[in-house]
Amino acid sequence: MMLRRTAVILTAASLAAAVACHKKAPPVARPAPPPPTSTASTTPARPPAPPEPVREPVVPAEPVRDDAIASASLDDLNRNSPLKPVFYELDSSDVSPAGQKVLDENATLLKRYPAWAITIEGHCDERGTAEYNLALGERRAVAARAYLVAQGISADRLRIVSYGKEFPFDPGHDESAFAKNRRAHFVITAK
């Protein structure tokens, strides 16, 4: 542990030195820079100029994506949400195997970002009545929340609201529209 930390410090120090060295190096007017392979032989007295990427820490690919999520505004996050909706059959609030898979992925994200608070919105298609659909949308949202809670997500982070059929995602009047409108929709409200 101690050794590793020392190594990290040393590495950082040498990087800093290299950067400092590079910054101090005066511009050398040379009509034709030699090919890289011959650099060492033509200027043996000078340390090699550090490659450009060294100036910024090289970060692994995975954290870059995470940073994009972590740094996005709530609106940007919700506009292209990493939390995917769960879709339901007509008159049903049963979570399908496909819905369970979506909820598993959503649960993973909620565990990775423990500060997130979300609202689960329940939505319905236009075939049911406006009145009953409020309660059906509620039941869909509750079903999604129950699944997430079973995956270890705290219920305190999961607010619920039903919009019935008041806010269709697809304004169409066919089954493809209906299928998009029967959903539990996830909105990130705090991060």
């Binding site: 008159d91 609030s93 075939r127 009953y132 509620e138």
Partner: protein
């Protein structure tokens, strides 16, 4: 004997220029006129409805405004009377050749008798200091006696139609013992303003509560909170509207007192509450709430001031869409305890088992209980890809259907005399408010701008 309704008419004047107000100003406290003669009724021949003619009202003043009002009054009165089908009417083009009277004194009774008219509604409009004076008589063409006569005075600039509505209701009451609905109003939900919800990345339309006269005229916005406002319900006294608002994120029951320009919170907090229905005495509301969690929704009764919440239904299913019986002793609602929603009835005290009412539907919701003398429940039924309006007679349990797959039809609401139903239909494209007679005849479209839905009909 005359009474002025000036104050009321002036108040109504403000309504015209009030498209965005949180609250519309008061309507006139109605009926300040008195019968000028002893009433009598005019009957039709062979027991049929009386045959009436409603010629244009007579302008006793020659100014353009009075002449215009006289024309409007005759037309609106004709429409108001025709709405209830209590009278037969001689078509207007038939009597175009009959000389126009200039006063009550020179009515050409002989000519009207030739057309087999039983009665003649004659009205005069005169400009007076306070505004206008409207005098209306129903004349028996055979006896030349007045069977009905009243005077109405007040301001006219705001809403001359209201005079005709008052005359219509007075005529129906005196001649047919019928409580007309010409002065009643509708409330409904509309997205016509094209506003979008804020604080959401989705494109979501703001929906606000509107009111209109029973004939669809004078459509006026009530709420201005820029969010989702749904399921408005008139209080029994016609002075308040309870509705479900998402203004604070969680749906709650609010009451808009449209004459006082005040708003009350019936429910608040983190629990969702929907679909308020007034008790007939106006002291309580029945609401639906999923507050117990687990996806169950049950009915609760709460005082209008938000106190005294008690659970009415207690069933591990969805129990929603309440409507009170006219006596206030029962509540009809929807429950999906056996699968899809069906209409049930339970005592307003919550005691006893809920009794299932709809037995021949795959899906039935939004019961609305008719006023006396009918004892019917109208509801929305799934009939195919869409829904239709049906009515069940509570005595015989016979079901009749009012709409037949023209678009999708839902959210029925009875007129206060039970003779018409307002509902939402997509038959014209977007969602619009229609009225239809309880017989299934006389379909009328009332709204055309944006989407309009979830109507409720005022009792007064």
């Amino acid at each position: 004997m005359k009474h002025s309704i000036l104050a009321g008419m002036i108040a109504a004047a403000a309504l015209v220029g009030w498209p965005r107000a949180q609250q519309p100003p008061p309507q006139p406290p109605p009926t300040t006129q008195q019968p000028s003669e002893i009433g009598a009724t005019i009957g039709g021949e062979a027991g049929g409805p009386p045959r009436l003619a409603v010629p244009d009202f007579i302008a006793l003043s020659t100014d353009a405004e009075t002449v215009a009002i006289a024309k409007i009054l005759g037309q609106v009165l004709w429409d108001d009377l025709n709405f209830e089908h209590e009278f037969a009417f001689i078509p207007r083009d038939v009597y175009a050749s009959i000389p126009k009277a200039t006063s009550f004194a020179d009515v050409p009774f002989d000519r009207w008798r030739e057309l087999n008219a039983d009665g003649l509604v004659v009205g005069t409009v005169q400009k007076v200091d306070a505004g206008i004076r409207v005098e209306v008589r129903l004349l028996n063409v055979r006896t030349r006696q007045s069977a009905f006569g009243k005077e109405y005075t007040g301001s006219a600039a705001a809403n001359p139609r209201r005079y005709a509505h008052m005359v219509s209701d007075d005529l129906h009451l005196s001649q047919r013992a019928l409580h007309g609905v010409a002065q009643t109003r509708l409330t409904f939900v509309s997205d016509r303003d094209g506003e979008r919800m804020k604080n959401t990345v989705q494109k979501r339309d703001v929906k606000e509560i509107y009111i209109a006269d029973y004939d669809g005229e004078r459509q006026t916005r009530v709420t201005v909170n820029g969010t989702l406002n749904v399921f408005p319900r008139w209080s029994p006294d016609g002075r308040s509207i309870a509705y479900t608002s998402y203004g604070k994120g969680t749906p709650q029951i609010l009451i808009s007192n449209i004459f006082q320009a005040t708003r009350e919170e019936v429910t608040r907090g983190n629990d969702e509450n929907w679909l308020a229905a007034w008790s007939p005495d106006g002291t309580k509301l029945c609401i639906a709430s999923p507050r117990e969690g687990r996806g169950y929704t049950n009915l609760y009764v709460i005082n209008r001031d938000g106190s005294g919440l008690r659970k009415l239904t207690n069933h591990p299913s969805i129990n929603t869409s309440p409507t009170w019986s006219p006596s206030g002793t029962q509540i009809a609602f929807s429950s999906d305890r056996t699968g899809n929603p069906q209409v049930y009835v339970i005592g307003a005290d919550g005691v006893g088992q809920a009794q299932r009412i709809t037995t021949s539907e795959s899906y039935a919701d939004k019961a609305t209980w008719s006023p006396a003398p009918y004892n019917e429940i109208a509801y929305t039924a799934r009939t195919g890809p869409g829904n239709d309006i049906k009515v069940i007679d509570m005595a015989t349990r016979e079901v009749r259907q009012l709409t037949f797959g023209e678009g999708s039809n839902e959210s029925p609401a009875f007129a206060p005399n039970g003779r018409h139903i307002a509902f939402t239909s997509t038959r014209a494209g977007k969602k619009q408010i229609f009225t239809i007679a309880r017989t299934g005849k006389d379909l009328k479209q009332l709204t055309r701008s944006g989407n309009n839905e979830q109507p409720d009909w005022s009792a007064k």
